[in-house]
């Protein structure tokens, strides 16, 4: 039997292999460095991510290649999203370092969990088979469960981790169940073959749709959209802010990739079915997310509900690829690239917003209530301006990237003929504007309750400023990123 073994082409998976190898090295190195030289672990982690970025960049050739018996795909979409994941994770590491050090949480485990979670995301992004998708997803999820609980003395964090774990396990179960149904109907786990089988109509339609429902439920849980959103506020609130920052950023890109691969690459033949589900979830998410966010006094919870509504907007674009018998390929690309652009824009904004929460926190003090932003303009005009840009961008006010993300999504939805849905969505984002404006009100109109100077390391200050400027500049010149998203998808789908 051994003679049949064919060595798979490892080249397309080079970044993943490098990351896995380095994670093992760091695991061992960390055993030998004491707490005083923890910086070594951190620097190695950073170097690993930068190394991955180099490998991804230099192995990029603009084509799609399958490997590992068609379980793994390396296409421009995967490379693009992976690059963004590296950038997001590096940012997370920089923003979170001081916060974790002040709470004695910057243990080696944290860095390893970050690396394994990143590996999970990369596998999710590149998966071309139900099993690989599941493998990547679980790798990401298990690392995240542990990260939420990393502050093991905090009852709130433990509770959050338990909730996340139980609900996450349930969602994984749903996803697996859906996959097995589709496997039963089509006899294959490979996305390309599933798509073929669905298109030809040989598979049993009832079983397929039955499986699809569970699949969509699993995706919805990972994206955190209504009605599978319950975990988001509790986990965002309970986890240490540095971990919340991680959960709220890069995994959204991976979840987007998963949704795109499963629904578009795999089950486009069932688009008519899943578009209806997505539309309902999108409207509910935008509505409930924006309404519930108004009632929050904790900024982490507020941003959690805002995340729900943002993912709703993303779904709005994803479901806008028209499900006619003869779909116009450009309209499809437009819809999906709007969804992708929205995800990317959201990750940039979310990184900045949680970065601001981290900036205001210091040893022994969690700046997680909205009140903590009071009078920030007096304490630091520059960072108040950065936060204002981020909030306005999230509210979808021009000239910031969030506006153009919403613009692209709404245009895709109007083009697909969902005008009434769009009107509902903009009315809820009007309601949403209120709570973003409230943050600006606290920073600019109110007197500071806390006059402690803002202390942060230089690299964090610089990166956070760059983050804010990126939101503004991507809004002034939105074309590059939009074209990049479109070009990537055109070459990949």
């Amino acid at each position: 039997m051994l003679n049949n073994f064919v060595m798979p082409d490892l080249y397309p998976a080079a970044p993943e292999l490098f990351l896995a190898a380095m994670a093992c090295v760091i695991l061992i190195v960390d055993l030998f460095v004491g707490a005083s030289r923890r910086w070594l672990t951190g620097s190695l982690t950073m170097a690993t991510l930068i190394g991955c970025a180099f490998i991804t960049y230099f192995t990029f050739d603009g084509t799609s290649s399958l490997t590992f018996n068609n379980m793994f795909v390396d296409d421009p979409l995967a490379d693009f999203l992976k690059m963004l994941v590296y950038i997001a994770v590096i940012t997370v590491l920089v923003y979170g370092r001081d916060y974790l050090a002040a709470r004695d949480l910057d243990k080696g485990e944290y860095y390893l969990l970050v690396l394994f979670a990143t590996l999970g995301m990369m596998v999710m992004i590149s998966a071309y088979n139900f099993l690989t998708i599941y493998l990547g997803l679980e790798m990401l999820s298990l690392s995240l469960y542990a990260m939420v609980a990393i502050d093991r003395d905090s009852p709130r964090a433990i509770e959050a981790a338990m909730k996340y774990f139980v609900l996450g396990a349930l969602a994984s179960g749903l996803l697996l169940y859906g996959m097995s149904m589709i496997y039963g109907a089509t006899g294959t786990l490979e996305l390309g073959l599933v798509a073929q089988s669905v298109q030809e109509g040989t598979a049993n339609r009832v079983i397929l749709v039955f499986g699809l429902v569970f699949l969509v439920a699993g995706i919805a849980f990972k994206l955190g959209v209504v009605p599978f959103h319950m975990w988001i506020p509790d986990v965002y609130h309970g986890a240490p802010t540095a971990v919340t920052l991680f959960i709220g950023s890069a995994p959204k890109l991976a979840a987007f990739a998963m949704a795109l691969r499963l629904l578009v690459s795999g089950l486009f033949g069932l688009a008519e079915q899943w578009q209806g589900m997505l539309m309902l979830m999108a409207i509910l998410s935008i509505g409930i997310g924006n309404l519930a966010a108004i009632a929050q006094t904790n900024i982490k919870r507020m941003l959690a509900y805002s995340a729900i509504s943002h993912m709703g907007f993303m779904l709005l674009a994803l479901m806008s690829g028209a499900a006619s018998a003869e779909p116009d390929p450009m309209a499809l690309i437009n819809a999906y690239s709007s969804a992708m652009y929205y995800s990317v824009a959201y990750v940039i904004m979310s990184l900045g917003a949680f970065g601001m929460v981290l900036l205001l926190s210091r040893a022994g003090y969690e700046a997680e209530n909205l009140e903590d932003f009071k009078g920030l303009n007096k304490r630091s005009p520059w960072f108040a301006a950065v936060m204002m840009v981020l909030m306005l961008s999230m509210a979808g006010i021009p000239f910031f990237v969030g506006f153009f993300a919403k613009f692209a999504v709404l245009l895709a939805a109007v083009a697909a003929g969902h005008v009434s849905v769009v009107v509902i969505a903009v009315m809820f984002s009007l309601i949403g504007a209120y709570y973003y404006l409230r943050v600006i009100k606290l920073m600019y109109f109110d007197a500071p309750a806390d006059s402690a100077p803002i202390r942060a390391s230089l690299d964090m200050r610089i990166l956070l400023s760059v983050n804010g400027l990126a939101v503004a500049l991507l809004g002034l010149f939105p074309d590059t990123l939009m074209m990049l998203c479109t070009a990537t998808l055109m070459r990949s789908l």
């Binding site: 506006f403 109007v414 074309d479």
Partner: protein, 491 residues
């Protein structure tokens, strides 16, 4: 042929705001002089627009085109016609006044105050110069941000409520407009070019729906009855400079929107719904005039008077004759001067007394004679006295309205009585009579800085009242063209 004048008009104030902000509020004198220099530079770059404007040419001048968001075919497309060029000049002029008016009054965060007004000036020039729908929308919405900050940071006791109401009310309208812009984009086959939209053929039902969406956006901004309630709040709470910009420029954005979007893109819906628009305008003119009569707060009174005057503007647009539309435009410019002056006058008194209540004043003329003279003049202009700019616009609109329908003109003409009543009655109670209390007795007359600002405005009001030809001449070709265009059905 690209000219860069319009880009300069937009970006000089915005980029100039950056060093003003960077100076911080410590070096107060430097901040003031730099802000003044930037605002004057902002006016200087717009002067060639007036001087070089070809009055015979129909269409857009000083055009600039560059791709901006190629994926959606959005262009950085600027240009002005005889209508919009006037507002850019007005805006740049008012910005200087605002900077001078805030010279000593603003104690806190001076640099941010000046920068906010400079940025807003640039953004509003952008609105008037945009010929691409997305570009227009982006400027239109972005201009909310500085105003929100201005009301919220430097405003009165109830400023937070007013700032939120202002922002959310306006956003409500603009979001509906955004949806109709997206719809028009698809109807036009993938173009946001406004000039192409003007030629776009649309059926009656879509025209009416889009008209209603635009109406919500622009009516909130004008503001028309019954969506005017944010304005008195915003005016009362805003600092003097904020009220001036709000009344002089921001209210014009809504009316300008009708001229640039509703009328030329949707001519059939405009004609069909004109009776409704005329009714709403007359309600604003008459009913809001009565509301103004009973106000106890001077700023509120002027705010209601603004709504009433803006009713004239919308009335002039929807009677579709040349004298009515031109009168409305003259009224817009004139109201820019007069309302700015009225708010500055109230500001002058408020800085000294910290009260806007009419009841707290009386006999101001005894202690502030120079001020009382200016205030008298502007009060007369506000009530439409001949030889002031207020008369020209109102008279033209009333003439146009009588041409259209005698009773419409009759109802509109009541404003001459009402306007005089509420303005002069307020003036009488505040300025005339014996000195009412010790605070009034302690008042000091206006200083040189205040004198300069009021004198500049008085000169403008008088010049426009005596010789309006330079204003009507520049807009004439564009208005004729607009009316010709609107008369042709698109069905």
């Amino acid at each position: 042929m690209n000219s860069y004048l319009l880009s300069l008009a937009i970006w000089v104030p915005i980029i100039g705001a950056v060093p003003v902000l960077a100076l911080g509020s410590e070096r107060r004198n430097l901040v003031r002089w730099l802000a003044l220099a930037v605002s004057i530079a902002g006016l200087l770059v717009t002067l060639p627009l007036y001087a070089g404007f070809d009055r015979q040419f129909v269409g857009m001048q000083f055009v600039e085109v560059a791709p901006w968001i190629s994926r959606f075919n959005v262009q950085y497309f600027l240009g002005v016609d005889g209508i919009s060029v006037l507002f850019i000049l007005l805006n740049s002029f008012v910005t200087i006044l605002v900077v001078i008016a805030g010279w000593e009054v603003i104690q806190e965060k001076l640099a941010q105050y000046m920068a906010a007004f400079l940025i807003m000036s640039g953004l509003m020039n952008g609105i008037f110069a945009s010929l691409d729908a997305v570009l227009f929308y982006v400027f239109f919405e972005a201009s909310l941000i500085p105003m929100y900050i201005i009301i919220g940071v430097w405003g009165g006791p109830n400023r937070v409520y007013a700032a939120f109401k202002f922002f959310l009310y306006t956003l409500l309208g603009s979001l509906l407009m955004l949806v109709s812009l997206l719809y028009l984009f698809l109807q036009a086959g993938g173009s946001f070019n406004l000039l192409e939209w003007h030629q776009l053929r649309l059926g009656m039902t879509p025209q009416i729906l889009v008209f209603v969406a635009f109406l919500v956006a622009f009516a909130v901004k004008v503001p028309m009855w019954p969506v005017h309630t944010w304005l008195p709040d915003a005016h009362v709470e805003a600092p003097t400079g904020g009220s001036v910009v709000l009344a002089a420029i921001m209210l014009k954005l809504g009316a300008y929107g009708f001229i640039r979007f509703s009328l030329p893109i949707l001519p059939d819906a405009s004609h069909y719904l004109a009776p409704m628009m005329i009714t709403l305008s007359l309600i604003a003119v008459v009913y809001i005039g009565f509301v103004a009569l009973v106000q106890a707060d001077m700023k509120k009174l002027i705010a209601y008077s603004s709504i009433s005057h803006m009713g004239f503007v919308t009335l002039g647009f929807f009677i579709f004759n040349s004298i009515g539309v031109e009168g409305a435009l003259v009224q817009m410019i004139s109201h820019g001067f007069v309302s700015a002056a009225m708010f500055l006058c109230v500001g002058v008194m408020y800085d000294r007394m910290h009260s806007r209540q009419i009841a707290d004043y009386g006999g101001v003329v005894n202690t502030m004679p120079k001020f009382a003279a200016f205030f008298m003049f502007f009060a007369m202009a506000n009530s439409g006295l001949p030889a002031t700019s207020g008369f020209v616009g109102e008279f033209m609109v009333i003439l146009g309205a009588i041409k259209h329908n005698f009773w419409v003109g009759f109802a509109a003409a009541t404003t001459l009585i009402l306007g005089a009543a509420y303005t002069l009655w307020m003036y009488k109670r505040v300025v005339f009579g014996a000195v009412a209390n010790d605070h009034v007795a302690d008042l000091k007359d206006i200083g040189r800085r205040e004198f300069l600002v009021l004198a500049l405005l008085a000169a403008a009001v008088l010049a426009m009242g005596l010789y309006p030809f330079p204003f009507t001449d520049i807009m004439h070709a564009s208005v004729d063209n607009l009316l010709k265009h609107v008369a042709v059905s698109k069905l």
